[in-house]
Symmetry: C2
Subunit: 188 residues, 2 copies
């Protein structure tokens, strides 16, 4: 079980950033995104992506993260630019994480309560420079899965992208035809 927990979400101000956190979690093979503030619109938005493009990814919002992190048996990795640089991690460190049956990767928004540093098993920095939490999450999930996440097919979707050297090709598996996408990201 691989989960991403987003804390400090403000539905109005962080709409796009948290959407991108969730899209990144899904595209990089997480099973579920948990978001602290209730946000049904966010759940619906990501639900549509999964309906269209497959997989079993879920978004759950309104999650009380303090009791969750206190009670969980999962290995909790908090991504923060103040933590230990993952570039210095040796193989066994990654292997231990990969063996863990349940990992929760936590990303904050602008402000992160100091308590989180204590609740986390690991405070990990994807480089010790000011960063984007989306970028940090992407690289971390990529490395955690040894790059396999990008190769994985997601079953059960209606649409399937056929990689092209130029232009766009998308199959509609329900209508057995091609669709013509008019932009990136299907207007997320």
């Amino acid at each position: 079980m691989l989960e991403v927990l987003r804390i400090g979400h403000r539905p109005d101000r962080d709409k796009r950033m948290t959407t991108h956190v969730c899209l990144t979690a899904r595209a990089l093979g997480a099973d579920r995104a948990l978001v602290d503030t209730a946000d049904r619109a966010l759940e619906r938005r990501l639900g549509k992506v999964t309906e269209s493009f497959g997989g079993a990814f879920e978004v759950k919002t309104g999650v009380k993260w303090r009791p969750l992190l206190k009670a969980t048996d999962a290995t909790v990795v908090h991504l923060t630019m103040y933590g230990e640089n993952i570039a210095t991690w040796e193989g066994p460190r990654w292997e231990a994480l990969r063996r863990s049956p349940h990992v929760i990767v936590v990303v904050g928004s602008t402000k992160v309560p100091g308590e989180l540093y204590e609740l986390a098993d690991v405070n990990a920095a994807v480089g010790n420079q000011p960063h984007s939490e989306v970028a940090a999450l992407a690289i971390f999930l990529y490395l955690l899965q040894s790059g396999d996440a990008l190769r994985r097919e997601m079953a059960g979707g209606r649409l399937k992208i056929i990689p092209q050297e130029r232009g766009k090709r998308v199959l509609d598996l329900v209508q057995f035809g091609e669709v013509t996408p008019d932009g990136e990201g299907f207007e997320l």
Copy 2:
């Protein structure tokens, strides 16, 4: 020379996303971010980060990307979920890119003009799933530099993060003291 070109930037709507694109470009070792729409506030915001945390990263906005891409000798890589999945790339493909003296990595916003697919030398997908352009950029830059970007020190800044197992430690190299950051990302 490694540059990131962001097109389709709308200063009001995309403020945070484009800031995160630029932060990612800087943290992952790009020399410069180019942004199509003029946005002095964005230049200033990133200028402050570089002033504080070092390096020689620059942001240039108001860049006319069509003439730029038509005239450049650089290898132009457009990141798009419709492109060839980089997970299928073999080593020589990466090596060729690494040997190129000038690479421009292009990321769009929601809508990308079809012309871009023709102007790019490579249309590359960081997985063929709906994604975040910030996430895609992060993984691409990471792999392009074989992970070295996260190890690099950035010289000349005023502040230096000292990686910690718990909590935050930041040195002020000018005042020779410690500062107490009160949140992630220094309120970007």
